[in-house]
Symmetry: C4
């Protein structure tokens, strides 16, 4: 079971997709640009709100085995460091406690077989104060060709038409998580989504194309109309930089932060902050003054 490895303090790569994704990050090199470079800003604007960093928390779920009240601790960390906070599966009550920390939160809802539950979750998330909602569409199937079941709840793949209804019901930005194909990205646009997370859900399928390898074709389809986020395997400011330089709007970090949760919100916030300063360091050394000044020609592919 790859999906619920929370609570494991010595997080290991759990799918060969994670290993392949790491190899892809490591195959990308950077050229420096020092002349006329200035101190960079990592200020990040999303849906009209401004944040300190484009390094966001990832939509984790069920962190109680990882740390006491882990989901709230996680939200507190994001709030402290001025990062966009994402949250995965959980009760309405838990979401309310998360939002009470002040975290600017994007709620990711599972693709429940019962669409009424989806609509109810959307309505609650909006009312509770999330500034965006979304769905991780990659949780629809299990590994045996049937529909998935998560904590006993039946899942089901969603059609573009159903997605359009979710978008309309939300009223606030609706984001699809788990896109690894230009085809799915195109359908997200059709359905009126406000954002896409390029992700293989930390290796839910083996031999997945690394998100960063899939990014260029997805960006081509999206054509700048909505933000495109990158998820999976990001462990450093350098990893984040490579995603942003190649066109990602922002990145999500989850697995890398989980082992820190048991040390409290400060430890998690410190790590996000350190990754952000490392990102800033690479920006400075490559002549990039702000996120909008990112330039893909800084990146070179190893061919040796």
């Amino acid at each position: 079971m790859l999906k619920y490895l929370t609570g494991n303090p010595d997080m290991k790569l759990t799918s060969n997709s994670d290993v392949i994704t790491r190899d892809y990050f490591d195959s990308l090199l950077v050229e420096t640009r020092y002349l006329d470079s200035v101190l960079p800003s990592t200020e990040f604007t999303l849906f009209g709100e401004t944040f300190s960093t484009p390094i966001m928390t990832a939509a984790l779920s069920h962190l109680d085995n990882t740390a006491s009240d882990g989901m709230v601790t996680y939200a507190r960390a994001a709030t402290q460091v001025g990062a966009v906070h994402w949250v995965g599966m959980g009760s309405d009550e838990e979401l309310e406690r998360i939002l009470a920390t002040g975290a600017r939160t994007i709620k990711i809802i599972k693709p429940h077989a019962d669409n009424k539950e989806v609509f109810r979750k959307i309505e609650h998330a909006v009312k509770a104060g999330c500034f965006a909602v979304g769905m991780d569409i990659d949780h629809a199937f299990n590994s045996e060709g049937g529909y998935d079941s998560v904590f006993g709840l039946p899942m089901k793949a969603k059609s573009t038409e159903e997605l359009r209804e979710f978008v309309q019901a939300a009223g606030i930005p609706f984001i699809v998580k788990g896109v690894l194909s230009p085809r799915d990205a195109d359908k997200c646009l059709d359905a009126g989504c406000s954002g896409i997370v390029v992700s293989h859900h930390h290796g839910m399928i083996q031999y997945a194309v690394p998100p960063l390898m899939a990014l260029p074709d997805i960006l081509f389809v999206v054509g700048g109309e909505i933000p495109v986020f990158v998820d999976c395997g990001i462990e450093s400011g350098m990893d984040a930089y490579k995603c942003l330089a190649l066109g990602a709007t922002a990145v999500s970090v989850g697995r890398h932060l989980m082992p820190l949760l048991k040390h409290g919100a400060d430890a998690v916030a410190d790590r996000i902050y350190a990754m952000t300063t490392e990102l800033a360091g690479v920006m400075a050394r490559t002549g990039v003054s702000s996120l909008s000044a990112m330039d893909p020609t800084v990146i070179h592919k190893r061919n040796f």
Copy 2:
């Protein structure tokens, strides 16, 4: 001796061609497609008959050292799981016992130097109820530039003309196993064959091109006129998926199943079933509803 490694419960890769073939499988990545995806069907139709899975048994021979009455056990497993069954060298009596299990069987005949033996074997297979016959042409030579001898019987390479005569004698579909070259594939078409198995016979020659790497050029030559099967090194539903996505009609699994034979037909059938559900899982996650909906653009080549 690479050819008769049966009976070894800890089957290892026995030729560098097997290692190279594994590397090639591992170099292929997949992109997911979740939106509008439905529960997939693995139903497979061959020569007018319908099967539960495109994962077929491979044409193994002489399994008595592997498991008691191994050849019949193997056939029983294929029958149980609704898979096409292939059978290699063996006596007429053994073939009849195999067919008595109800296995829908394709009999592969060795390239005997004595064509009369070939014709006799074809006639018996047809009469006994095989729904296709064929020949593993890659057993013609030994590794020293002479003709091979199998269990004391002399072998010989076959001409396109001889192949045509076998095809006509059979009357039922005739399949050539051991094609790794567009040139041989073209000759199979000329001779009127009804199918091709792309295979290096689990590494009979060292440094063999992996079947899946040879597949595109062979498919180009075949032009959709006859089914093209892929053999060698398939160990998972993901491996099978990659073959099918790149255009194979179906795949054969042999070495991977052999160590299970001693645990009985159920163990073998269970493994074929598990590989089929894994295949279905990948189909679901890549938006492929049936074998006829396979799409090669899902596959990406590692270049890092």
Copy 3:
């Protein structure tokens, strides 16, 4: 801290950029050309002066922990072997003692935040007898997105305009060290610089493009107008040859020499001499009679 690893007798690669750079060197192969080849000359002319070798010392700093009076020992070695000598950070008094060895010296000045200090250092270097000066622009930032501080002195990135002022103040050739981008190279030309050192400062940034991989695009921009030197990871005459064959004017060696400093100037001079004879050996075997006869078609990229 990657920057001041002096004093460590067992110098190890300290950044993955160093490892990547080594891999790149190792990916380049040479073809031999024996017919009509003659004994080669490694004579090297720079800014009107003639040297015995295109293998130069690199601009190291603060070598006192490495060897007693290390900076002067280092200069003595360069003088003995007839190599261009480069010197990094240090006091005016130290520079004068270095020049007293007779070393033909290029002084590299840090990008001090206080330009008055830069101008003062330039003026002193010129007066003291350096035959060129320059700046390592890659020391502007720290790894956290702020300006660097070196031995307590604040640094700052320089604009092309400031660079132009330094060039004019110098009067003698002004060289920019730390260029890894055609963009910075172009700005160096604009500012009137007399030379460029392609370098990632032995891995100051992780995942840096290897200098030799960056060289062709930089040479294209420079168009032969000024010399282009290559720095980082050169450990043999073969490494030097590859740089020169691909268009570098000369190369710098620093880290590779440091462990020898504690054995005295002779040991360092001997190593530069040995690398030069090895370079000559490769020149002879590839039909290159002098540095001006270098030919990039001798070099082949591994693709296997």
Copy 4:
């Protein structure tokens, strides 16, 4: 010292060029072609004489430390197996004893600084009954950019003009060994040579282009006018096949045979014979009936 490693029974790869050459062999894959294939012939014709195999001995020298009277034992092995025999440095008397075995011998002469010695050696070889002579031009220089000295005798690089004089003096076919560049190949043609050995002299220079990688460009320049042989690192009939399929006229094997010399001529002859049958085996399985029917499209480059 890479050059005289004879006498070492556990021959190891002695230069990274040998390792790189092995990697290149291993990167080449073959496709099988069984239909219409016949029993192949390895008969090989050179300069009007017919041999049993295109696998020739390499021009080794000074084998006395390897085996008692090693040079003569080596010749006896070639004679027994019907292979072309090559011989390197040695006394006139030794050459006569070699020829007395009946070995059809090609004598390779060192590039002596003193051309009179070269002419004298040519004259002796012709008179003694060699059916071709030649020179290993890659022995001209040492690794330090000077001329080489072999067993106290001074060497020197040869001009195309000098080569022409050697060719004319010989009267019998003159072959240049140590070509790794189309440029040298072109000069050999100009000088009237009758053959070329593509070789890096088992790694005399580090990072040498593998001979088989250099072969296509050299064949393009040679345009079929003279035979082109491949040397270095051949250890199997498969290695030989790859060279021949890609256009080599024949191959030389030396280092691989040396450890067998101490077991006598039979052991060496047996190994050449076994490599030849292995070559025949690959020919049979790839539909190649004779050396003149070799087809480069059988070979595929690994790209994974």
